[in-house]
Assembly symmetry: C2
Homo-oligomer: 356 residues x 2
Amino acid sequence: MKHFKLAVIAGDGIGTEVMDEGIKVLKYYLEKTGYATVSFDYFPWGCEYYHKTGEMMPENGLEILKDYDSILLGAVGYPGVPDHISLRDLLLKIRQGFDQAVNLRPIKLLNGAPCPLKFKTPEMIDFVVIRENVEGEYAGNGYFENRGTDAEVAYQTGVFTRKNTDRIMRYAFDLAQKSEKGKKLTSVTKSNALNYSMVFWDERFKAIAADYPGVKTENNHVDAISMYFIQRPESFDVVVASNLFGDIITDLGAALQGGLGFAASANLNIEGTYPSMFEPVHGSAPEIAGKQVANPMAMIWTVKLLLDHLLPAYKHDSIVDAIEKTLVDAKTLTPDLGGTAKTAAVGDAICQALTF
Amino acid sequence: MKHFKLAVIAGDGIGTEVMDEGIKVLKYYLEKTGYATVSFDYFPWGCEYYHKTGEMMPENGLEILKDYDSILLGAVGYPGVPDHISLRDLLLKIRQGFDQAVNLRPIKLLNGAPCPLKFKTPEMIDFVVIRENVEGEYAGNGYFENRGTDAEVAYQTGVFTRKNTDRIMRYAFDLAQKSEKGKKLTSVTKSNALNYSMVFWDERFKAIAADYPGVKTENNHVDAISMYFIQRPESFDVVVASNLFGDIITDLGAALQGGLGFAASANLNIEGTYPSMFEPVHGSAPEIAGKQVANPMAMIWTVKLLLDHLLPAYKHDSIVDAIEKTLVDAKTLTPDLGGTAKTAAVGDAICQALTF
Ligand SMILES: CC(C)[C@H](C(=O)O)[C@@H](O)C(=O)O
Ligand SMILES: CC(C)[C@H](C(=O)O)[C@@H](O)C(=O)O
């Protein structure tokens, strides 16, 4: 039987609480299916660690993580630690350091989830966003001029290499080609205003599309697609976007699904050179931390993405089905969904709802 | 009586059709109220002009426009002319060339407009977005490396000066201070990932907030606010955003209002050195052009913003009221709203619905 060694960074706030439930479901699922065994090493990195050590993770953090099969991350961020430190020095460092080029985020409305849109049924909200994850607007390049004076200027430079742009697009085209829905790929652009990065993005999209004659393609400006997500989510199948645009539209997508309580994500190193990382899209929500009221469904859905990655020979949809069953039953839900159940009880309920 | 000289760039596609109705309502309103007289000079610039001349507007276009009291723009863009030419060489050139630092966009759901959200009433969707309009991500700075090779890289640099950042923020704070709603200003950031531009943006927001103790402030990341617009639009009063972020969230806002058929905008030169420009947010929609099916309501709402600018001593809300009445009556609506009326008939109906 296969054995997987996972690194766990539960992180801050509700990160630890939802992580417990993710791991609970993962263990239960693997025990029952017998697909693999799994062991966990926990790393107490994050903002508390920063308060003690001045670093979000040890300097050799990537070295420590590099031999794990995958990384599970809860949530990072805490009042008092500036966001650009807590995120850039851990989350973004791992994404970029481990060349996790693809950020995959399913947007799928489950039965029983509170969709904010009129007239949209679960069948109509079901697509996937492929977000570039190692460069683009998040490259971190920039500088200040005349710092601290009235003549001050801040510059922020997005970096789009052909290598990474082509890689993310090929991944998205491959996925669209296999899709059972529309075999359609939508590229998110803003080439009418961003005259280098997005003109380049469009060029590469067009060039690579030539290799995928079976895939229907479409270009939407990021402003327009934000509107289309609301007006006609049913028209999307696979969507490919830059780092920043992917960030924005996946939060929007999360809203369509009923909120961040349902938003799962995978940060994939597609060559298998480094571990991939799996994390819910939500943050650490310090205001509700430690009370066992956080909804663990996004974390549990994230575990499903981990399984897709580690055990691609099997389908793991039963995990999402179990989340859906728990939603429809509506007996064991956290307060964000109108229930009174504890975080741990939701994890238990989802285990019970699993069918094999 | 005051007299205003307006420059009219109706532009491409449905631009000319909606412009006719905007001007119809403007003339009628000024005749009836007697607030001012107005004259129009038409400039046939845009993509057709580009096909003939190779330019979107004459080289001395700004020189020609500069002595008008204001500019009315319909819509620009046409298949066959790359977007980054049609927009950068006309729309963005005027915004930047005339230092139209403020892009003001009301997000307001009218009775009778098709809101896509459950449980949200017109009272709950009523706020304004102030978008930085001359620099930021749209500065147009960038370059290519190793162009055309596998080692190709595109760089796009956002430029944030203290001068323009402070100016847009002060404008937004002033507006929030006068607001009858919440006296609340929300700043749209992404400082957890954009470590120069948005860290700087946050610094300036904090610095300027000190001068406005009466205004409640809030920072939202652009991804998060995209979700909040859907989940709790009622919590917003005035929102200030960079050029790109403002672009994205105002299309999202337009969706909440019932679509681009209702999205008006003002590009304001607040010092009065150059003319301001008024345009609906929608594009030229070539696929429906020339058929008299375009909804002119956004253009007519835009005329209201023009009046606010030219004649600030009066309130011009009756124009928006007349649009709302026409919506509620539901007798004279274009096909996008489920009606069968022609564009011109909607303009007539709105004139009839005006009360003085
Ligand atoms: C926390 C933040 C840096 C991060 C991002 O912008 O990528 C988050 O919003 C996400 O979507 O994973
Ligand atoms: C057409 C485009 C360049 C423009 C922009 O991005 O500013 C439009 O989307 C807008 O919002 O006015």
